[in-house]
Symmetry: C2
Subunit: 418 residues, 2 copies
C-alpha cells in the first residue's frame, strides 16, 4: 500500500513556512508498512485544491490531508473533497453538540461560523478531536481511503495516533518498516558516507539515509519486510558492520544525542563537570544544561571572553596568556585545570579558539580551536581546525568537547609507567 | 503568472528530511511577481515523477524542479521530462567538455557515468553551473516554462539567481511582491494577532503572515502590485499602524533580530555587558556572542548553576541565598550587580529561575524567572512566569533579558527627584 500526503494552507506557499506535519505522518505511515510516494502543498483556492486531490486519488491507495478544516471562508477542504467525490456535506448533530459544549466549557457561546465544522462528508466516519474544534474525517471512496485531519500539529498528531493509525493497521498489510537510528560524532558527512557505503551492496535489501543535522551526523538504515525476525536480524547485522567501520565515532545506535549520552555517562559515574569557554561563548554550557536534571552533574561555567576574566575567574596566569596568546594549547590546559580547581568538579573543560569571521592570523587562522579536558590525572589538550562559518565552528567545537568528555569517561587513557 | 515547484528525491519522502529549497525559490519567484500555487515532493520512480510533471504542466505557467540531475541511475529528471515532452535527450559537447575539465582540475579522470550529466533535452537552453557538475536546463514547451535545477542548495541558489531569475524577469510581468519584515519581542503570537488583525480589513489589498519562530514573533505584511510607489506607501502606512499598536514590543521593521538590535545598540553606545545566568545555562551568553564582533561589547559571563558559584564567582552573599532562596528577586539583583562590579562592565545582567520540568514548588513554580539588569544607577529586577517546556522557558527568559537590555539603552528610566 502507498500514500500521498496533502498539506492545505496558503501560508505554506509563502517563503516563510514549511509543511512539517508530513514528517510525523510519514513516520506513522511507514511504521504501518505504508510508503509515501508523493507529498503536495496546496493553497486554499478551490480549483487548485480539487486538482491536487484528484491527482492524489488517481495514484495513491491512501490520501492523508492536513489543514483547511477551520471555521472560516478559507477553510475549504471539506467542501472541495465532497464535491470531488460527488457527495453531500451533512450537518452532524453529534459533532455540533460537542462543539457547542466545548465553547460552553470555556464560558462562551459558539460563533455561528463554527457550525461549519460540524459538516461531514456523506458516508464519512467522524474522527473525534478532543484537543480542538475540527474533527477529522475518514472517507472510503472509489477503492481509496481519504483521511482529513486538522493542520494544528498537536491535534493532527493526536488524531493520527489514536484514530487513524489503528484503522490503517486493521487493513492488514503485514509489511512493516524496521529502522535504526545511529548517531556519529567527529566525522564529516562525506567521511561517514565513504566508510559505510561499501556495505550497501552487501545489504541490498536495506536502504540507508545519511543526514547531517544541527546535532551531528545520523544514519538511518531501514528495511521493509513482512518477517520481523528476519528484518531485525538483518538490521542488527548491518548496524554491527557499521559499528566496526565507525569505531569510537559511533556514539549511539538508538537515537541518543551526544548531550544525552554525556548526561547519562556523567550521571552513572556520579561525576561533576565545570567549564571555562571562550570562543564558544556559552554554547557548551547551554548544551550541557539543555536536559532536565543537569544540575546533578553540571556545577557551572565561565564564559571568559576577555583575558581579564580568564585570569580573574579561572586563575589562568596573566603571564601565560601574554607569552602564549589567549588561543593556545597552554591556555586551554590552564582553563580546564583552573575551572576544575575553582569549582571542585570531577572534570574541567576549557575551550579557546577563533570562531571568526575576523580575528584570524596566518599562524592562528579562523577555525583553530584548542580544547582542554582535565580530571584527577591532570589536563589533556587537543587542537582542531574546523571549517565553515562562525556558527559551524562554534558547533563543531562544542561537539568535540562533549565527545572528549564522553571518551575520557568511556575510554580512560591507560596510565603509562614512568 | 504562477508557478509550481517540484522537489525530486526519495530521501525527501522519508520522515527525516524536508524540502527546504522551495522556500528560497518561492522568495525569488515572488519577488518577480510570480505566485507559487503548488509544491510537490516526488521520489525517483519514473511513473510517479512523470505524473507529477504532467500535473504541474497542466496548471502552472512555470514549473521549477530541483534534484535528480546527478550521475547515477536514480537521477531520472532529465529523461522523465524529455519523455513526457516527447523530445530526445542529446549529448551536449560543450557541457561534456566542461565536465571533463572540471574533473581534470581536481586531478581526476571523469567517471563514465558522469557523461549522463551532459545530456540535454532537445530545444532546452543549458544553464551553466560553476559550482557543480549538473547544469540546469530551461525548456519552453506547450506554452509553459520548465526549469530543471540541481538539488544541492548552493548550486540551486546560484543558478536561480544568476540564470533563472534574469530570464524570468524578461518575461515582463510588471507585478511584483513588496514586503516588510517586522520583529516583535515580549508578546505571544495570539497577542500580536489580536492587536494587528483589526488592521487587515482596512488594508484589504495587503496580506500579512504571522510567524512564531525560534527567534520571536515575526509579521510579514506584503502586497502584490505593478505600482511600486503605491505599494511602498501602502506598506509604509500599514507598518506605521502596526507600530502604533505594538509599541515598544516592536523591535525592528527590517528583519533585524533581537541579537542584532542589542549588538547594534551596545556598539553604538560603546557600552559593555557581562552576565551571570543560572537557569538559562549559558544560552544568554551564547545569544550575546553569536554575532561576529561581539568581543567589542561582551566581556564575559558566569553560568552559576550551583549556589557555591553564585557566591564564589559573582559575590552573591551566602546569607542572601539562604534567606531568600536562589530563585528570588534579591538574588537576581545581586547577580546583575555582582557581575557588573566583578567585570567593570557598563551593564550587568542576572538571571535566576526554574526551567523545569522538575524543581517547582507552589510558591516558586516551573517557569518563574527573575531577571535583574544593572547599570551605573543600580540594578532593577522583573519577575516573569513563562509557559511551556524547559526549552521554551529558557528561550523566553533570554529573549526578555535581551529585550530588557534594549529597553534600558533605548528608553532609560527617567530619574525621579528625591
Amino acid at each position: 500500500m502507498n500514500a500521498e500526503i496533502i498539506a492545505v494552507g496558503s501560508e505554506l506557499l509563502t517563503p516563510y513556512r514549511l509543511d512539517t506535519n508530513s514528517l510525523f505522518l510519514t513516520d506513522q505511515l511507514n511504521r504501518l508498512g505504508i510508503r509515501v510516494i508523493h507529498k503536495a502543498v496546496v493553497g486554499d483556492g478551490p480549483e487548485e485544491m480539487r486538482s491536487s486531490f484528484q491527482h492524489a486519488l488517481a495514484r495513491a491507495d491512501i490520501v492523508v490531508a492536513c489543514g483547511g478544516l477551520g471555521p472560516t471562508d478559507d477553510d475549504r477542504t471539506r467542501q472541495t473533497v465532497a464535491e470531488l467525490l460527488g457527495r453531500r456535506l451533512l450537518e452532524n448533530v453529534d459533532v455540533l453538540r460537542k462543539l457547542q459544549e466545548r465553547f460552553r466549557r470555556f464560558g462562551r457561546a459558539m460563533p455561528e461560523i463554527n457550525a461549519r465544522q460540524a459538516l461531514v462528508i456523506e458516508g464519512a466516519e467522524v474522527l473525534p478531536n478532543p484537543r480542538g474544534t475540527a474533527p477529522g474525517q475518514w472517507v472510503e471512496a472509489r477503492g481509496h481511503i481519504l483521511v482529513l485531519l486538522p493542520g494544528v500539529p498537536q491535534e493532527m498528531r493526536a488524531l493520527m495516533e489514536t484514530e487513524v493509525a489503528p484503522r490503517l493497521a486493521k487493513l492488514g498489510s503485514r509489511t512493516r518498516l524496521y529502522t535504526r537510528d545511529l548517531r556519529i560524532v567527529g566525522l564529516f558527512e562525506s567521511e561517514v558516507e565513504q566508510r559505510v557505503s561499501p556495505l550497501y551492496a552487501q545489504y541490498a535489501d536495506t536502504e540507508t539515509t545519511i543526514l547531517a543535522t544541527a546535532n551531528g551526523i545520523q544514519l538511518h538504515p531501514r528495511i521493509w519486510s513482512d518477517d520481523s525476525a528476519y528484518a531485525e536480524s538483518r538490521l542488527g547485522e548491518l548496524v554491527g558492520q557499521m559499528a566496526l567501520v565507525l569505531g569510537k565515532n559511533l556514539i549511539s545506535t538508538c537515537g541518543e544525542t551526544i548531550e544525552e549520552v554525556v548526561a547519562r555517562i556523567l550521571t552513572e559515574s556520579r561525576a561533576t563537570i565545570a567549564i571555562a569557554e571562550s570562543c564558544t561563548g556559552g554554547l557548551l554550557a547551554e548544551r550541557l544544561t539543555c536536559l532536565s536534571g543537569s544540575s546533578a552533574y553540571f556545577l557551572g561555567g565561565v564564559v571568559c571572553y576577555s583575558n581579564q576574566l580568564k585570569t580573574q575567574l579561572v586563575g589562568v596566569p596573566e603571564e601565560l596568556i601574554e607569552a602564549k596568546g589567549a588561543v593556545s594549547s597552554e591556555v586551554a590546559l590552564a582553563l580546564a585545570d583552573g575551572i576544575r580547581r575553582q569549582t571542585g568538579a570531577t572534570i574541567g573543560v576549557g575551550i579557546t579558539g577563533i570562531a571568526g569571521p575576523t580575528g584570524g592570523t596566518p599562524e592562528k587562522p579562523v577555525g583553530l580551536v584548542h580544547i582542554g579536558i582535565a580530571n584527577q590525572h591532570g589536563p589533556r589538550e587537543r587542537a582542531f581546525r574546523f571549517p565553515g562559518d562562525r556558527e559551524r565552528i562554534r558547533f563543531f567545537a562544542t561537539q568535540n568537547a562533549l565527545d572528549g568528555v564522553r571518551r575520557l569517561c568511556l575510554f580512560p587513557p591507560v596510565p603509562t609507567e614512568t
